[in-house]
């Protein structure tokens, strides 16, 4: 390195702001891991030393340093520091893609035994089961398990801890929960205990412990736990001078803080096989299965299977998984959440937009509706369950202004009729002068127009303000002979959040799709073809484009990075600390032209992986609107791009625009496999290791053989060895 590297990357010169003379040589302990890794990549890909360097190492030298460095990095990967780094989602793609899917790795897959901190969504459901409709108490019980909100998948078992902040919130919540249980919504066993004279019998005490365990630890207590907590309960009564309520209170609180209410156990407490692996115990499997698809504890059927030992092999596990997947009554929020975290379109409302730019009071409402429509697209595609990934990337059909997947067409027709009658009632009346409160007489007349207006929430919310919001949009629609968007109208409970009631909102919202409010005839049958030359799939959906933009500009780098990392399983290093990553302002240049700065040698190294992909999306502005002219400079948009260094020769090549890029990506095996790697990470809660190769290959085959069924792929993943076996790490 002194001979070939430090000359340009040392004390005298530090090209690309990289210094190699300062590196820690304790590579195998994971020190300076990122940089050593980068060096390895550069050497292996022959990027360094550069072609025009004076002294090139000869082949033997190069091979030897690559081999040595490779071995050191292998050791680094299993060092604590290395494991921590590699355990992070952003490092997932470091595992060699081709190796993973080569079929040459014969090791039997497993996961390391672990404690996995409670998922906040599961806690929310637990809270809801306790507080039910007492929404004030529900709101006060805050979320103790905070998850980072970084892009990508955040619920990894590695690196999630319960600490002081968690405990303080848990304690506050525990007090509230127990107060509710003992004063407001009192379960029978607690009531019995509180109403008897004197202390409870041991059986009663045990019943109380059992109840609370099931409520908060989501499983029955073991015999040992039962005895311990029962004795604790009875002892506390004695210590408080015979105060049964006080004793009960403290015991119930303790159960709420039990470490197993905080960490899921996935230690592999079942039988050992001949390869040093242990299978998850029946209990552990029941939880693992339940929490993989739902936010609820195992249901009766699952518990029965566990208790009767009918959960021990992949076929039995698959049966349970398929049962849950097929049952529409079982809520499976984990599925939609995966797609949200993978695509990231749900982050759109977080991107701050200056209200001045679109005369809107509450940007969140428009953004939320856009996200909702992306959700609908995902859910619809999942329901069809055919060619899922390609559909999501290349579909020409979208949902706009639609009320939801469960909507019955007859129902929709009725709503349209109701709206028309509302419009006809008001059109000749001075609705612009309405006060907030409607007169009782007027209310009655409206209720008579159509049964929908008698429905409670509608009745409650009908106001002058609402009419003043509805009428401008309805006028535009009916005067132009258009069907209005039904999503915009509060007709039933629970739809309020997504509604764009003001005309400003609707105009703006539609413009995100390049639709015009006085021309858009909202189809009843959705999804419908929007404009196949301009938009295909989720990556040209306004919500995705907005989520991957800045406040006032597009962000081709983020967009390009997304494709490189999520669809091509590539890796882009972080911005070097010394770089001030700011795009120069210039009113006469397009953003693409202003990005010329990244073409400098030290920048292009990384930017070549992102820019040529992201620039294709320049055809869409930071609100997701398709455009051919750049507003700021007046110049035409150049949306040509390049797929390059994907690792697949047939995938590489120029593209004219984003639509072409999407179609090319939609057909690619590598893209499909990258998608499956990400699904693996989400459902396993960790990055893949080389030893997971068989699992990934099987999941890929399941997907392909079933014609692109996401469910089939998922069932394969969740009954794989990686999912059900545990094997300890080698001791250091």
């Amino acid at each position: 390195m002194d001979n070939h590297c430090v000359g340009c990357h040392g004390p005298k010169k530090a090209k690309g702001s990289i210094r190699l003379d300062h590196l820690d040589s304790r590579i195998s302990q994971g020190l300076d891991f990122e940089t050593w890794n980068e060096i390895y990549d550069q050497l292996a890909q022959r990027e360094m030393p550069p072609e025009d360097a004076k002294h090139q190492p000869d082949e033997a030298q190069r091979a030897s340093i690559i081999s040595w460095l490779g071995k050191e990095l292998e050791k680094a990967r299993s060092s604590p520091r290395g494991r921590h780094l590699l355990g992070q989602f952003s490092f997932g793609n470091q595992v060699d893609h081709d190796a993973l899917f080569s079929g040459e790795i014969k090791e039997l897959p497993f996961s390391p035994p672990r404690l996995w901190r409670m998922n906040p969504n599961i806690y929310d459901r637990t809270k809801k089961r306790i507080f039910k409709d007492h929404w004030m108490e529900l709101r006060k019980a805050r979320q103790p398990f905070s998850l980072e909100q970084r892009p990508g998948i955040n619920d990894y078992s590695e690196g999630l801890f319960a600490d002081s902040a968690t405990l303080e919130t848990l304690l506050l919540n525990a007090r509230g929960i127990v107060e509710h249980q003992l004063n407001r919504d009192i379960p029978l066993i607690f009531r019995t205990i509180l109403e008897s004279d004197g202390p409870p019998t041991p059986e009663q005490a045990e019943a109380a412990v059992r109840f609370q365990f099931k409520t908060l630890v989501l499983r029955p207590p073991s015999a040992k736990e039962l005895a311990r907590y029962r004795d604790y309960f009875l002892q506390s009564i004695k210590e408080s001078g015979g105060d049964v309520r006080a004793g009960l209170e403290v015991c119930l609180k303790a159960i709420a803080l039990n470490p197993e209410a905080v960490y899921r156990m996935e230690l592999g407490l079942g039988l050992r096989d001949d390869h040093g692996r242990t299978i998850l115990s029946d209990n552990e499997l029941a939880f693992a299965i339940a929490f993989s698809l739902t936010d609820d504890p195992p249901d009766q059927t699952l518990w029965s299977a566990a208790r009767s030992g009918n959960l021990g092999n992949p076929e039995q596990i698959q049966a349970q998984l398929e049962r849950i997947l097929r049952n529409p009554k079982i809520a499976k929020p984990k599925l939609l959440r995966f797609f949200r975290e993978f695509f990231g379109y749900h982050r759109a409302p977080r991107v701050f937009k200056d209200a001045k730019r679109f005369k809107n009071y509450d940007w969140g409402i428009v953004a939320n509706q856009l996200v909702h429509e992306a959700d609908l697209l995902v859910l619809h595609t999942l329901k069809q369950d055919r060619d899922v990934l390609r559909q999501l990337i290349t579909t020409e059909k979208y949902f706009v202004g639609h009320i939801g997947l469960e909507a019955d067409p007859k129902n929709l027709e009725q709503r349209l009729i109701a709206l028309r009658r509302l419009y006809d009632y008001w059109k000749e009346k001075p609705w612009k002068k309405l006060e907030y409160e409607l007169e009782a007489k007027v209310r009655t007349e409206i209720e008579r127009l159509h049964p929908y207006f008698e429905v409670q929430p509608m009745k409650h919310r009908m106001s002058g303000g609402l009419i003043k919001d509805y009428m401008p949009y309805l006028t535009i629609c009916y005067e132009n002979g258009l069907r209005p968007m039904l999503a915009q109208f509060i007709l039933m409970e629970g739809e309020r959040e997504r509604n764009l009631t003001s005309a400003h909102d609707q105009r703006f919202f539609l413009s995100a799709y390049n639709l015009s409010v006085d021309q858009f005839d909202c189809p009843i049958e959705q999804p419908f073809e929007l404009n196949k030359e301009q938009r295909v799939g989720l990556l040209t959906h306004p919500s995705w484009l907005i989520a991957h933009s800045k406040n006032t500009d597009t962000n081709p780098i983020t967009r390009g990075k997304w494709i490189r990392e999520r669809l091509l399983a590539g890796h882009v290093p972080d911005v070097p600390i010394t770089v001030d990553a700011v795009v120069p302002e210039d009113p006469h240049k397009t953003l693409r032209e202003r990005f010329r700065a990244t073409r400098q040698q030290e920048c292009w190294r990384c930017h070549k992986k992102m820019n040529p992909l992201g620039m294709t999306f320049e055809a869409y502005d930071d609100f997701g609107r398709f455009r051919t002219i750049d507003k700021a400079s007046g110049k035409p948009i150049d949306s040509r791009g390049l797929l390059d260094s994907t690792g697949v020769a047939s995938l590489d090549g120029k593209v004219q625009n984003a639509v072409e890029l999407m179609k090319r990506l939609g057909q690619s095996d590598r893209v499909r496999q990258s998608f499956i790697r990400h699904a693996f990470r989400y459902w396993m809660g960790r990055n893949e290791m080389l030893s997971d190769s068989a699992t990934l290959i099987a999941a890929d085959e399941a997907y392909v053989k079933s014609g692109g069924s996401f469910q089939a792929m998922l069932v394969s993943l969740l009954s794989s060895d990686s999912f059900i076996f545990r094997k300890g790490r080698a001791k250091q």
Binding site: K140, S146, F161, R350
Partner: protein, 471 residues
């Protein structure tokens, strides 16, 4: 735990004072400081009082100074000596030399409208009126008070919670989250709405009903019981994963540490705690607010906390206790009068009431000697609104009232200050104001809060403290 509090604890253990309990804390502080060789260095105290519906700039400006603006790029600064305070600030007359009226800082990086949520004290935008979003950083109140550790850290007390609730919401009980203060990014400060529960939580270790004491002791035992549970579980878990349980165990041990610390302060607590009257469990707003102020005073005097934020009201609140029975704060903010008074007059009534509470707190602190002066010398009480300068604040200016000596760190006490207008050279944002506070109190931060991008684009960058505010 810094050396000051260790010696404080040592003194508490070995000294016994008679009935001069109220003198306990500051006297000990002085003794402790002397023992440590530091003179005049007392832990600084911070109280933030946050009202809803805006704080009207005109109403807190003395008649003589109405309409007066800054000239050039320097702020307008006028001593309050000899100047008549506006009507609603009359209760602060005797505190004039330690009163600062601070006007003209903008906060346009925050959410304008009914409330800025974490913006008012955290200087960043929130998603929308109905969503406080995630706090991006520790807010100024907790950040200032966290400089010196105290058993309870920063305390939040609230009459009402989030600015916008449901019309006709009953008075809240128990813990709530108004979306105003944060301890760290993503970590909101919980507030206590029930004065009696707050009393139990804060003073229950040493005082209060027998039942409260019993509950407290039982909870201490529970923490030990659970620590044992965790240790047992830890044995079964592979070493690579034990860290996770260790974190959880440490959390219990920290909590126990804090509770033990409280035990050593029991005499100070007993002497400094407020008297638990029926007001503490009253459902009447003015009783609860008065109780919160008493709790705040006692927290500071006993040293249980160095920082308190009080959420004074919200838009749903109806000040029946002040004779304003017909309209809530929201309606008044929109210009509807109540009980024969115009909207402006109603706002005056509410503001005067708040100021009188502020004055009585200041009075309590002023009555306790500390060093060569009083506790008030080393306290900063800030009064502001989470909606800025109006019911629907536009946030081009954001009024503040500050009472207290501020430990001599700021040049503000005793002055009226108005910054140059928004968009003029020399203008500052609340980010600059808070940065000045932090720097004045020894936290040399570059800049606190998000910048105002519009100002930056117009070539008016605002970073850093304003040196003329710092002593």
């Amino acid at each position: 735990m810094n050396s000051q509090s260790t010696s404080r604890r040592a003194f508490l253990k070995h000294f016994s004072f008679g009935s001069g309990g109220a003198l306990l804390s500051p006297l000990l502080g002085q003794l402790a400081a002397a023992a440590d060789g530091i003179t005049g260095a007392f832990p600084q105290r911070f109280v933030f009082l946050v009202k809803s519906s805006g704080l009207t700039p005109k109403a807190i400006t003395p008649e003589l100074l109405r309409g007066k603006k800054a000239t050039g790029s320097a702020p307008l600064r006028v001593s309050l000596k000899g100047i008549t305070l506006p009507d609603s600030l009359r209760a602060l007359e005797s505190f004039k030399d330690q009163l600062a009226i601070v006007q003209g800082f903008s906060g346009k990086m925050c959410l304008a409208g009914h409330t800025s949520y974490f913006g008012a004290m955290g200087v960043h935008a929130s998603p929308s009126e109905t969503s406080s979003g995630r706090p991006l950083r520790a807010t100024i109140d907790t950040r200032l008070s966290s400089q010196h550790s105290s058993p309870f850290g920063h305390v939040g007390l609230a009459l009402r919670g989030r600015a916008v609730g449901g019309a006709g919401d009953p008075i809240p009980q128990g813990t709530l989250y108004p979306g105003l203060s944060a301890l760290a990014p993503g970590r909101e400060l919980p507030y206590q709405a029930s004065p009696d529960q707050a009393f139990d939580q804060l003073f229950g270790s040493a005082i209060g009903s027998k039942k409260g004491r019993k509950r407290y002791d039982l909870e201490t035992g529970m923490l030990d019981f659970l620590s044992d549970d965790i240790k047992q579980l830890r044995k079964k878990v592979p070493s690579a994963e034990q860290d996770k349980l260790n974190h959880y165990l440490l959390a219990f041990e920290d909590l126990q540490e804090r509770r033990k610390k409280l035990l050593t302060m029991s005499k100070a607590i007993r002497d400094g705690a407020p008297k638990l009257t029926e007001k503490f469990s009253s459902q009447l707003g003015i009783d609860r607010l008065a109780s919160h102020f008493e709790l705040a005073a006692s927290c500071l005097i006993t040293g249980l906390s160095n920082g308190v934020t009080i959420r004074m009201d919200n838009l749903e609140h109806v000040y029946t206790g002040l004779g304003l029975t017909e309209q809530n704060v929201h309606a008044i903010g929109h210009g509807t009068g109540s009980n024969g008074k115009s909207a402006e007059e109603c706002r005056d009534v509410i503001r005067s009431y708040h100021i009188s509470l502020m004055a009585s707190l200041a009075e309590k602190l002023r009555s306790i000697p500390e060093g060569n002066g009083t506790m008030l010398d080393n306290t900063m009480i800030v009064y502001l609104s989470d909606a800025g300068e109006a019911h629907h604040g536009a946030l081009h200016e954001w009024p503040f009232l500050i009472v207290g000596g501020c430990g001599g760190r700021l040049t503000l006490p005793g002055n009226y200050l108005r910054m140059p207008d928004y968009g003029q050279s020399g203008h500052g944002t609340i980010g600059n104001l808070y940065t000045s506070f932090l720097n004045a109190y020894g936290d040399p931060i570059d800049h606190f809060g998000d910048p105002d991008f519009s100002l930056e684009r117009e070539g008016l960058p605002q970073r850093g403290p304003i040196s003329s505010l710092i002593a």
